[in-house]
């Protein structure tokens, strides 16, 4: 019952949209594909849906070839980032559409549509047209339509990206419950937001420049990102990555000693590494390294402070909302025990969750 992609590749105008994508999507599990814009996430979904050809590679379902199966026989439902519904149909008819096409009996259609409208909380809007609904409601209609058929493959392409954050927060909360009884459907959800991937996914696939660069349970990808690229993608704000040198029990960036070498990095030989440190693992302190505030963002209940430390940019995340003026000089302190070490090629050498001396297994 799995959906298996092997070496899928697609090049358009010399740009790799997909490059040797191999992945096995399991029934009954929620896969989140995380990556930046244009990483190939949407392309991958479109290939799985049959809306996009590939140059090479294979795709099988239940072990049988799936690439040649036309879209309308793939038993696949999709929710787009844009709120896509049939403009000429009422909410009820929108949700009923796939059932009618599948030749489901009338009474059965009514029952299932009402049930799925109730689940997304749109019962009272069933006679409206999509254009008479708010963005959040429109996306709920699309979700209901995707849910109603009990399709074998469910694809969600950044479904909440165009919503306000309060709505996004709310729909995310509802999402897991909504999709909990999808039985053994293969569910694939793309996102650019780490919090979404962490919260929703059973399995996280990290995509970058058309490749899948790491796959695993969310906690594992988060705690042990295989490369600096993964580390940046799986963190919001992106993980701070800086080049530094271990020498004499201290870590230095250029000539500036930034911190001591923590226990979990103690056995690393002296030399140059790329270090990673998450934004919440840098603190603004009363004394420490002097840096200048270059930008401040507020994201929900967190304040992201962008700092310049002698030419290197750092992002610091502090809990709560704080008024900090641009151009201020502040002191920052790195938490050495939270440092990640990567080699010059960007591969993970040591993470805070690995004990000293234990090499990173993959």
């Amino acid at each position: 019952m799995t959906l298996d992609a092997t070496d899928l590749s697609l090049t358009v105008d010399g740009v790799d949209h997909l490059k040797d994508v191999t992945a096995s999507f399991q029934p009954g599990r929620l896969h989140t594909v995380i990556g930046r814009t244009l990483a190939g996430k949407s392309t991958l979904l479109r290939v799985l849906a049959g809306l996009q050809r590939v140059d090479s590679g294979s795709l099988t379902r239940h072990g049988a070839d799936f690439l040649t199966t036309p879209v309308w026989r793939r038993d696949t439902a999709m929710v787009y980032q844009q709120f896509i519904n049939y403009p000429h149909l009422t909410v009820f008819d929108n949700v009923a559409f796939p059932l009618k096409r599948a030749g489901v009996a009338r009474d059965e259609i009514r029952r299932r549509v009402q049930e799925s409208l109730a689940r997304v909380g749109l019962t009272e809007f069933r006679r409206r047209r999509p254009s008479q609904l708010s963005g959040g409601q429109q996306q709920r209609v699309a979700l209901a339509r995707a849910l109603v058929r009990g399709a074998g493959i469910l694809l969600l392409d950044e479904p909440f990206a165009n919503l306000d954050y309060k709505l996004r927060e709310q729909l995310r909360e509802e999402f897991k419950t909504l999709f909990s009884d999808q039985g053994d459907a293969v569910v694939i959800y793309t996102t650019t937001e780490p919090a979404e991937a962490m919260m929703l996914g059973d399995v996280v696939l990290v995509m970058h420049e058309g490749r899948i660069i790491q796959t695993g349970p969310p906690g594992e990808v988060y705690d042990r990102p295989a490369t600096t690229t993964v580390a940046r993608i799986i963190n919001d704000p992106p993980m701070n990555i800086f080049t530094g040198r271990i020498a004499g029990g201290r870590i230095a960036v250029d000539d500036l000693q930034v911190t001591r070498v923590p226990a979990h990095l103690a056995d690393l030989p002296d030399g140059t590494y790329q270090f990673g440190l998450r934004a919440p693992d840098i603190a603004l302190a009363s004394a420490g390294l002097q840096a200048e505030v270059t930008f401040v963002e507020i994201s929900g209940s967190e304040t992201f402070v962008h700092l310049a430390l002698s030419g290197t940019g750092f992002v610091v995340q502090i809990d709560g909302v704080h008024d900090i003026a641009l151009g201020d000089r502040v002191s920052m302190r790195l938490r050495p025990e939270r440092l990640f070490a990567f080699d010059h090629s960007g591969a993970l050498v040591r993470s805070p969750s690995s004990g000293p001396g234990s090499p990173e297994g993959r």
Partner: protein, 364 residues
């Protein structure tokens, strides 16, 4: 760069409607010169009406509007010297970037050298100085929006820049960088900015002061930190912050506020009212090991992994609240945990409104 005084300004679109139903209830506000303000609220809250009154598109049913002390209530838009950025980029597709930026100055008959200098200065701030000769129609939506802003900034006599949901047509992934650019540019040119949005992130990240609007009223005005720390109403507590502020219904026994039969100390005077709620941010609820003052037993109902933090949903005295904990603290091993509600961070609300002001001399 004018100070804007809104003096008893109110508006209704249906003549004769009683004031309770006006789109904008009469209000008195002062927007200081060279500061950035965000009007934020759900659709229908009156923020667009207020913006239209500032721009002169709508003449208020009552009240006066002053720019630097002079009455502009009756003046048409073009006599008010304001620059506007709309939801959709308004640029001249037939012109180059340079011509677009120079257009307002040419209309004002500036001499050529002066235009050239000013356009280059603004283009540099916009980060478009290397693309001045390009036709404007080839630009992406976010660059077009920057030009819309730039056209407002080239004039040096602009009283205020009004922005109406300028990021609407921008891809979600580009919003952040554009917001950052707009913020940096306004820091540099320091006009008085009024920015309308329904998105709380945008408002909080962009403005020095945020005005939360609802039902035609400004329900709270303050810096982002003030809105976060002391929401004036339960609505603001819900609207600002993610996850939203927790609200718990408490009892009042004698002079003492209690929760689940235990006293709850607060750093505020709590008025006597039949129904009191307390608000506390998920960030400030602490998981502790030992019973102490303001520590309550709870039962864990759910855990959500957000990455650097986990959000626990716990049941306290039959009510659900959220608690944010750092990832490294792990998931509690037992279903029962103790949480502390720090006395300085618990705020009392009566009828949905913040019910006290801080004590003058608080020991803490």
């Amino acid at each position: 760069m004018a100070q804007i005084d809104i003096v008893d300004v109110g508006h209704t679109y249906t003549a004769g409607a009683e004031q309770e139903r006006w789109a904008l209830k009469p209000m008195r506000l002062t927007l200081e010169a060279a500061r950035t303000y965000a009007l934020v609220g759900p659709s229908g809250c009156g923020k667009t009406t207020l913006l239209n009154i500032l721009s002169g598109l709508v003449k208020p049913a009552q009240g006066r509007l002053l720019f630097d002390g002079s009455d502009v209530t009756a003046l048409p838009t073009k006599a008010r010297n304001i620059a506007q950025v709309f939801q959709f980029p308004v640029i001249y597709h037939s012109m180059t970037v340079y011509e677009n930026l120079a257009f307002p100055l040419r209309c004002r008959r500036w001499d050529k050298a002066r235009i050239e200098a000013r356009v280059h200065q603004v283009a540099e701030a916009l980060g478009l100085d290397h693309r001045l000769r390009q036709p404007a129609r080839r630009l992406t939506a976010d660059d077009k929006q920057l030009i819309s802003l730039g056209r407002g900034l080239v004039r040096d006599d602009v009283a205020a820049v009004l922005m109406d949901e300028p990021l609407t047509v921008i891809d979600p992934q580009l919003k952040l960088s554009l917001r950052r650019r707009i913020r940096e540019i306004t820091e540099q040119f320091r006009p008085t900015v009024v920015y309308v949005t329904h998105d709380q992130y945008e408002a909080m990240s962009f403005a020095q002061e945020v005005l939360v609007m609802k039902d035609g009223r400004v329900i709270q005005q303050g810096t982002p930190e003030q809105l976060f720390e002391a929401p004036a109403s339960t609505y603001v507590g819900y609207f600002i912050g993610s996850p939203a502020m927790n609200f718990l219904t408490v009892e009042r026994v004698g002079g003492q506020v209690t929760l689940a039969g235990r006293p709850l100390a607060m750093a505020w005077d709590v008025p006597d009212a039949p129904q009191i709620q307390v608000g506390v941010r998920p960030e400030y609820v602490k998981i502790v090991g030992e019973p102490a003052a303001n520590v309550f037993p709870t039962r864990v109902r759910g855990v959500r992994d957000h990455g650097p933090q986990r959000v626990l949903e716990v049941e306290l005295a039959g009510q659900l609240i959220k608690v944010k904990t750092p990832r490294e603290d792990g998931v509690p091993a037992t279903g029962q945990i103790l949480v502390e509600l720090p006395r300085a961070k618990v705020l009392p609300y009566v009828d949905g409104h913040l019910a006290t002001t801080p004590r003058a001399a608080d020991p803490e």
